[in-house]
């Protein structure tokens, strides 16, 4: 597709959790499921600038949900509970943002002012999110960076039941850097590449969190004749280009549908659409859905005609039917709707479809939508469907959509107006002096691309290994250890890249294994106190027994390295026992016997030595027999 021709424009917004303590208290930025205490709160709308309060908003707040906060003492304090004013903003987080700003060629603000952004969905106990602009006007390749902001992450939504929303407080207050680009991105692949570049740059600071949910990417997209659509929550890099492609197709599809509809109907045709009751018509249907939903006596079935929509509701890129269903679901508690383009289906047969069309007076180009449930729910759902259907006459609406796991998107809410922000008076402004910026510039991390080249050259690694060690975040550890034990480079690499993650998968607490411990492990290996095959066993032991030494670990694992004589003795015994087998197979017996020997000697002797001795002993036996 020629993205330039269709006027493709996109901007990225990247939210990345920083790996420091929380932004406004000294709690560790740690996600934990433990619950030590809980409390419930309500949030209410506040006075407007003009000093009054919207009565409708108060009514809304009254209906509004109650928020149950559950929290652990490990990761929260009174600040998260909104029971203590915020402390000073975390210096490390600010310095990390400034570092990223410099790496992105952005201009830091002279004095940082934290703001309160009003959010009353309960995700912040205070009813606002604290956020500050740190730098502006940066650039990465040909993409402008508009703003770099530092904000606090919101509480983690756990579940919603009836009118109570349960949030976990652990995530609240984790520093988030928000990087927003201008709409300079030219095509979906460009979006992915830009996000990847920014991602690598963030990683190079070593101060960002890793793992699922620690980075969230939003995408703003529009094409010629389309509209600005904001897509929230794209989880992975590879999804970015796919989501962008799908959104482009969706917008193009909607523009096409607009043309078709213009051709088929007039604007007024979607006004005054009647809800027609079909309860009696469909009562005897064999459809399981209808049977199930009609079990409730208060339920009814109603339908509306959608003039001109025949054949448009189920198209792959636009999926108008699904769009209508989402609108219905958001405005009521209805499970879903049924539309004519998916019939026959759901147990509703062709005959029944024809009958509905007859009752509704449908012509060739007309479609229909059915809703089943309580009468008020059905009415509201169909009303929402008509509202959305009318919008298709205007093409693409500006809106916020949610990225789904299959890289398509779903309607979330209309585009928000300008955020209402006012100063966080509890946090003093922070002056960023030229001197401070000098210091940041002096301590910039090595750029990932440079580090990549250097690793290949300096440590003689291949492309893939280098990529792996850098993206694992173990590159610093590797450097330190590889410098100290140049002969063990490969073992070190394997330990950091494979052994430790594997142990972690087994549930071993690898965070107990610090650098000092690794140092001892490799030192002992260099001293040939044990064989490298035993590293997993030793690390496992060390992780589980914190107050121990490497020597004790080697001994406890029964891995003391054997002397040449001891090895020879054990091998002689094996060869002796398998004399007949050797006589039968001759030199070919080496393989099977090696297996037996390794079983007995793994970790106590180097494989190569074992093989050599075994070969010798086998030859001896063959000769003597």
């Amino acid at each position: 597709m020629d993205y330039r021709k269709i006027g493709f424009k996109a901007g990225l917004e990247i939210h990345q959790q920083l790996d420091t303590n929380k932004l406004f208290c000294q709690c560790p930025s740690k996600i934990t499921e433990d619950i030590d205490y809980s409390f419930t709160r309500f949030l209410r709308p506040t006075q407007s600038e003009m000093g009054d309060i919207d009565q409708a908003a108060v009514e809304e707040a009254k209906k509004n949900r109650c928020f149950l906060y559950t929290a652990s003492n490990q990761s929260t304090c009174l600040v998260e509970a909104d029971e203590e004013p915020p402390h000073h903003a975390n210096k490390e987080a600010i310095n990390t943002c400034l570092t990223i700003a410099i790496l992105l060629n952005a201009k830091p603000i002279d004095e940082i002012h934290f703001m309160r952004k009003i959010v009353i969905d309960g995700s912040n106990t205070s009813g606002f999110q604290r956020t500050a602009l740190i730098a502006i006007n940066g650039k990465i390749d040909n993409v402008k960076i508009q703003t770099i902001a530092l904000e606090e992450d919101a509480a983690r939504k756990i579940k919603e039941k009836n009118k109570t929303v349960n949030y976990g407080l652990d995530r609240l207050g984790i520093p988030l850097i928000e990087i927003a680009t201008s709409a300079d991105i030219k095509n979906p692949e460009h979006a992915r590449k830009t996000a990847e570049k920014i991602g690598l740059l963030l990683q190079s600071t070593k101060k960002v969190k890793k793992g699922l949910g620690t980075i969230r990417q939003d995408l703003n997209i529009s094409i010629q004749g389309g509209a600005r659509v904001e897509i929230k929550g794209i989880q992975s890099l590879s999804s970015i280009s796919k989501v962008a492609e799908n959104e482009t197709k969706r917008q193009m599809g909607l523009i096409e549908i607009k043309k078709i509809l213009k051709h088929r109907i007039k604007k007024g045709d979607l006004e005054n659409i009647k809800h027609i009751d079909l309860t009696n018509t469909l009562r005897k249907s064999n459809s399981n859905i209808i049977k199930k939903l009609l079990k409730n006596n208060a339920s009814c079935i109603k339908a509306i005609k959608l003039p001109g929509f025949h054949g448009l509701l189920k198209q792959r890129d636009t999926r108008l039917g699904r769009e209508l269903a989402v609108y219905a679901r958001i405005s009521t508690d209805i499970g879903g709707i049924i539309h004519s383009d998916e019939l026959p289906g759901y147990g509703i047969n062709e005959k029944e479809k024809k009958e509905i069309e007859k009752i509704l007076g449908n012509k060739e180009n007309d479609a229909f939508v059915i809703a089943i449930g309580k009468e008020t729910t059905v009415n509201n759902a169909l009303q929402a469907v008509i509202k959305r259907a009318k919008m298709f006459l205007d093409g693409v609406p500006e809106e916020v959509r949610r990225a789904l796991p299959d890289d398509t998107t779903e309607y979330m809410r209309p585009l928000p107006g300008a955020a209402r922000m006012y100063p966080e008076t509890d946090v003093p402004p922070i002056r960023i002096t030229p001197h401070h910026i000098q210091w940041i510039k002096k301590h910039l991390p090595e750029k990932i691309e440079e580090k990549h080249k250097r690793f290949i050259k300096q440590y003689n690694l291949n492309e893939e290994q280098t990529k792996q060690i850098i993206s694992s975040g173990q590159d610093d550890n590797f450097e330190k250890l590889a410098k100290q034990f140049p002969n063990l480079k490969k073992v070190i690499l394997r330990t950091l890249l494979n052994t430790l993650p594997e142990l972690e998968k087994e549930g071993i607490k690898t965070e107990n294994i610090d650098n000092n411990m690794l140092n001892q492990v490799f030192y002992a290996l260099e001293e040939e106190k044990y064989a490298k095959e035993a590293i997993p066993k030793i690390l496992k032991y060390l992780a589980q027994h914190r107050q121990t030494t490497i020597d004790k670990a080697i001994e406890a694992c029964g891995l003391k390295k054997l002397s040449q004589t001891e090895i020879t003795q054990i091998i002689k015994k094996i060869v002796d026992e398998k004399k007949e087998f050797i006589a039968e197979r001759g030199k070919d017996s080496l393989g099977p016997l090696m297996g037996i020997a390794m079983k007995e000697l793994r970790g106590k002797a180097d494989g190569k030595i074992i093989s050599k001795i075994l070969q010798k002993e086998i030859e001896k036996t063959i000769i003597s027999s």
């Binding site: 409390f39 419930t40 709160r41 309500f42 949030l43 209410r44 709308p45 506040t46 006075q47 407007s48 600038e49 003009m50 000093g51 009054d52 309060i53 009565q55 108060v58 009174l78 509970a81 909104d82 029971e83 203590e84 004013p85 603000i109 002279d110 004095e111 940082i112 002012h113 703001m115 952004k117 009003i118 009353i120 106990t125 205070s126 009813g127 606002f128 956020t131 500050a132 602009l133 703003t147 902001a149 300008a418 955020a419 209402r420 922000m421 006012y422 100063p423 008076t425 003093p428 402004p429 002056r431």
Partner: protein, 429 residues
């Protein structure tokens, strides 16, 4: 010229006032935004502007920086509203005094302002009109740490006037820091109360969506309009959840936490009751409201001080005042070396009352010799009174007793629920 003066003049020269849109041109680059007030902790050379995206930033301005006025702000018209009246509902008075509960933020500039009328306060919690009719007044506007005896007197007269004019009860929104002192003072100054007098505050200002002001104020309105209490009480959050509020007796209540919603606790007694889902539940007996006229008895002797004992306290640390409340250690002790000074002050006519830093529990100076020496010197036991309450009561007693014996008798008599003779086991933390 100081840097600040220089910047102020630069702004004045282009007629840029707070709220106006300006452009700051620096190194050939311009930045446009709405001029904001200067923050106390901002740098001297900083001009704060609000960008179009809503963010405030501080821009350093020097001699090479240009400031241009882009446009003057449009003045909005603040709506004034009438407070509704429903003849079927009881009427209460709200008498504003200032404090967190009455603060709100001007969203345009971000400055925190006190609500200039009790109407504004009532309107920020419109639910209050579902409970009662409200008459709003402002007695004064100040942070509670600046409140003194003269303000207590003014408040007492205001309350009496309102109750005598027939309102069912009175709510006094008050800064939380010294709310306990004011509630104690009003308890001694007001006699024959014909309705509840409810002090209420907030630990989170009412401009925040999470403010405790709304719950506290509606709970206070429930007590003021629906209960038959004839006492001065404090109503505040009972828990860190927004579930219930607690009614504390005005002479037994103290702020125990700098920031939590449930900072206020009743000491050496259990709270009078609580309000949950709009219903009042009482725990203990209380003084019922009377039919009669409310009397103000606000004579106070202001020459009273509080001395907190500590290791190393010296005789000269005890001031020569007509009244001194000692906040002693344990059962009621001070370093032995200050006792002669205390005796000398008492002999010269001072009244000295002992209370305890333990806060919980009763004074008993008979147990150790240090205490017995204090009794011999003439120190009066504050019983189980809070030292804040004892301080207020001593001011009141000094102005009401003719001689030492009378003052001592007043201090030892329970006047407004400040002394309990029995301490229930369930009154400790």
């Amino acid at each position: 010229m100081t840097r600040r003066r220089y910047i102020e003049e630069k702004l004045r020269a282009v007629d840029a006032k707070i709220g106006d849109t300006i452009r700051i041109i620096k190194d050939g680059k311009g930045m446009e935004g709405v001029l904001m007030p200067h923050h106390e902790f901002s740098g001297d050379d900083i001009v704060t502007i609000k960008l179009e995206n809503g963010y405030n930033i501080g821009v350093a301005v020097d001699r090479n920086t240009d400031i241009v006025l882009i446009k003057k702000q449009k003045m909005g018209i603040r709506k004034t509203k009438k407070i509704p009246f429903d003849p079927n509902k009881p009427t209460i008075s709200i008498i504003g005094t200032g404090g967190t509960i009455a603060c709100y933020v001007d969203y345009r500039t971000g400055a925190v302002h006190p609500a200039t009328s009790a109407e504004e306060l009532a309107f920020s919690v419109p639910e209050i009109f579902e409970i009662c009719n409200v008459r709003a007044h402002v007695a004064f506007q100040m942070f509670s740490e600046d409140i003194d005896v003269s303000h207590w007197k003014k408040l007492a007269r205001y309350v009496a006037k309102e109750l005598n004019n027939g309102v069912h009860g009175v709510i006094i929104p008050h800064g939380t820091d010294t709310m306990g002192y004011t509630s104690a003072a009003l308890s001694f100054m007001l006699r024959n109360l014909s309705g509840p007098v409810v002090l209420v505050g907030a630990q989170r200002s009412s401009d925040r969506p999470s403010s405790d002001a709304a719950q506290n104020l509606t709970a206070a309105a429930t007590v003021a309009s629906k209960s038959d209490i004839g006492e001065v009480v404090v109503v505040m959050h009972g828990d860190i959840s927004d579930t219930f509020s607690t009614i504390h007796r005005g002479t037994k209540v103290r702020k125990f936490h700098t920031s939590r919603r449930d900072a206020f606790k009743t000491v050496n007694d259990i709270p009078l009751g609580k309000i949950e889902d709009g219903k009042i539940m009482f725990n203990v007996e209380y003084r019922k409201k009377t039919d009669g006229k409310v009397l103000v008895d606000d004579k106070m002797e202001e020459d009273v001080g509080i001395v907190y004992s500590y290791p190393g306290l010296r005789p000269e640390d005890i001031p020569e005042k007509k009244g001194v409340v000692l906040v002693g250690t344990g059962l009621g002790h001070v370093p032995n070396r200050v006792i002669p000074k205390i005796k000398q002050l008492i002999d010269n006519g001072s009244i000295i009352v002992m209370t305890s830093q333990c806060i919980f529990g009763r004074i008993n100076m008979h147990v150790y010799s240090n205490g017995r020496d204090l009794i011999k010197a003439g120190v009066i036991s504050g019983e189980d009174m809070l030292h804040e309450t004892a301080f207020v009561k001593l001011m009141w007693a000094l102005a009401h007793g003719k001689n030492r014996e009378e003052i001592e008798r007043l201090m030892k008599t329970n006047i407004a629920g400040e002394i309990t003779e029995r301490t229930r086991a369930d009154t400790f933390i």
